[in-house]
Every structure is written in C-alpha cells, then in structure tokens.
C-alpha cells in the first residue's frame, strides 16, 4: 500500500469536515491550530482518528513540527514508509 501525501491530505480534510464545527473552506495548506481553532487536546484527539483510519501511530513529539494539514499528511506518509 502506498498512499501519496495528496491522498492522505484529502483523507484528513474529509475526516475534519465530518466535524460540523470545522470551517468549510479548509484545504491542505490550512493551519491546524490557527485555522481550525483546535486546542492541544483537540489536535491530539483528531490525530488519533487519523491514526486509526490509516493504521499508523504518530508519536506526540512529531506533532510539535506540524502546522498544516499537508505537514501532517507528509508525516504520516513517512511513518508508513518507515514500517
């Protein structure tokens, strides 16, 4: 299985849009904290959902470097390639 960053990014956007509180106009370059108004706990909980749909674990320390949805997608893809 080899998802691309664009595939994963699209899946993340789709997952986020299932939450009615998330703005409708998000895309891969949306910033997770600023544009989605997520606090640190909300970010961790949403990452958990992504982990489950893609069967991957994202260590918490990796989150520190992630700002946009595309950053998260790139991180997930690199973690999946490493396994």
């Amino acid at each position: 299985m080899s998802e691309t960053v664009a595939d994963v990014s699209a899946l993340i956007v789709q997952t986020l849009l299932a939450n009615p509180k998330v703005p409708r106009d998000i895309n891969g370059s949306s910033k997770i904290v600023e544009d989605l108004a997520f606090d640190s706990l909300a970010v961790m909980n949403f990452v958990m959902e992504i982990e489950d749909s893609l069967d991957v674990s994202v260590p918490l320390d990796r989150l520190a470097d992630i700002r946009t949805i595309d950053d998260l997608a790139a991180c997930v893809v690199s973690l999946k390639q490493a396994t």
């Binding site: 706990l41 909300a42 961790m44 958990m48 991957v56 674990s57 918490l60 320390d61």
Partner: protein
Amino acid sequence: MSIFSKYDGLAQSLAAVTADGGRNPFAVVIDRPLSSTVGLIEGRETLLFGTNNYLGLSQSEAAIEAAIAAARTHGVGTTGSRIANGTQGLHRQLEERIAAYFQRRHCMVFSTGYQANLGMISALAGKDDYLLLDADSHASIYDGSRLGHAQVIRFRHNDPEDLRKRLRRLDGTPGAKLIVVEGIYSMMGDVVPMAEFAAVKREAGAWLLADEAHSFGVMGAHGRGVAEADGVEGDVDFVVGTFSKSLGTVGGYCVSDHDGLDLIRLCSRPYMFTASLPPEIIAATMAALDEMGRRPELRHTLMDNARRLHAGLNAAGLRTGPQASPVVSVILDEVDQAVRFWNRLLDLGVYVNLSLPPATPDQHPLLRTSVMATHTPAQIDRAVDIFATVAREFGLMRPAAASA
C-alpha cells in the same frame, strides 16, 4: 508587547467565568479546616466535598503528634536533595515502610507525587524507547513524557484493545515499551481495567507503570490499589503514587521489585535536583500509613459513602459517571451553567471542584465531588439535598427524577 500578551485568551476566559459577580473558582480560600469534612470558607462553615482526603487522615491525631515530635527532634527541613545532604535516617525508614506495605523490594520517595511521575517516566523511557499513555492521563504523566526523550504514543482511555492495536504497530521495533495507566482517574472516578491491561502487557513483552494516586488506600483488600484488587500486582512493574491523598500529607513514591530502581536515583532529575521531604512530613506520613493499615474499616466506610453519594446525586436527576467511586463527578453541558451551579453550591455551604475543559474528558464541564470515610451519612444527604435544590433552581432535573 507584554510578555503576558500570549495569555490574553486565558484572561478573557477567566473574565467570562467571573463575569456576573461569580467567584474565581481557582482562588477559593479555605480559611481553615474545622475537621476533615468541614472548613471555614468566607466565614461560613462549609461541607468539604472536593478534597482528596479520602480517609480523612490529614487530621489524624496520631499523624499530628508524630509530626510535632519529629520537628522537635529533627527540625523542620533538610535543606538539600536526596543525593546530597537531604537523605536522613527518616527517609530511608519511610522507603522501607512503603516497600513493606506494598510487599515490594524497593521504594524511592520523591518530594511530591507530581515529581514521582515526572522523575520515573522521564528516566525509565529513554531515547530509543516508547511510552504508551492513556489519553486521559494526569498532567504529571504528560509532563514526564515531555521531560524524557522517548517516542510518546497515546491510546484511547481505558481501552486495552486500542493499546493492543498500537503495540502491534510497534512489532519488531527495538526499544522498551512502557505502558502508563492510572488506578482511578481523578476527573471522573472511573477505574482502570488493570487485569486486561496486564494481559496486553504480558503478550507484548512490555513494561507497566501504574499511577495509583487516587486508589492507594482506597482499593484492594489492604489498600494497595487497583492492581491488588484485580490480583495482578505481579504484572505491574512500577507503582507510582502520592501521600497527598489517602495519607493526607505530601510526597510521592515509586515501588518496584526491579533492582534497577536504585539506578534511577542517579539519573532522575526531579529526584536529584530538589529538596527532600522535611522530617515532620515523613513522620506524619508513617503514622498515617500505620493508621491506614490498622483501620481497614476506613476503606469500607469510604466505599459505602461513595455509593450513597453516587446514588443520591443520580436520584436527584443529575448525570454522573457510571461507577460509584470516591470521586463522583456531575457532568454538565455548558461552562457558564457549571460556573453558576458551582457558585450556588458554595453559597449554600457545599464545596466541590469546578473542572473545566480542556482539563476534563470529552469537553464537558464537571462538578467534581469527592467523599471521605469521615463524612457522616447526614453530611452526604445534606450535600445531595443542596445539589437537588440547585438542580431544581436551574431546571436541570432529568424527567425520570422530576416526576419521582
């Protein structure tokens, strides 16, 4: 720009909480306790239903006398850390007593429970290791994970199957895997399924650390916590806990059968770089520990009281967690309503904890209520009545109870 401007949002949240003349819930002053269950607040005698003083031992006569005697013979402080001039005979004695209570070979005592988690977690899990934390872990566990260098993975709260899945993803990766759970979770009072976690741990060849902060002295035939109650102490590699709840003093500990624990004394920064516990606290803690061991009836009364409070609040139409445990949290929907409810309870003479998201699970505000072995049935009924009164004032009765 002020160095505080990053807290503008926080300042606004605080202003909103105190907007219509409400108190600052994070600045309540208990002028002084009159007993373990009653405190003087705003000049009024107030029922204390928001402490962690589960056995009432903060007011133990024996502990008070022991503290006075130790202060007379040893003075009031050590002025040094455990690895320098801060280890006295009393520290060693306390470690032996705690180890004996848990029937473990080793014990390390820290200056607080917070530091025990910080110190154990950061030192046990190194750069090439993995820490697996329950999503609802206490701040001290999260902070410990940030102080160390391990990769940190969260699993769903109290969900051994979810942990199993996450461990499976790590199959074949080198590095130790340390799982961290709590005995009783402090916000909702829910109990860990320790035996199921122990099974997952055995299967995966992982290590297990249990923070029994709220379950020490509360669960298990001898008060050794949920691991004892579930009969899986042998699977728990490290038990961490605190003296600041059931023992009524202050300080933290870790007990283990692993001989390596002694090495942690030389690499755990929160153990090494802070002053050790003062003599009077150690003496009081040992006296409280004796009392806890000698009086198992305290635990039975505590659980009877927990059931009484849980049943009473539910009968009053309030929503709580499913389990009767010494922490019974009333779950509300809106922060604003929770703040007003909490203020009204205090006006009417009941002190509970107001817990607000994001410090609560599921984003719900909570009125965190806790019982003690020393509460009388009449005090519990009185508190439940006051809750019911306020719930009625706020139109919060659930239909089933309202018609009853």
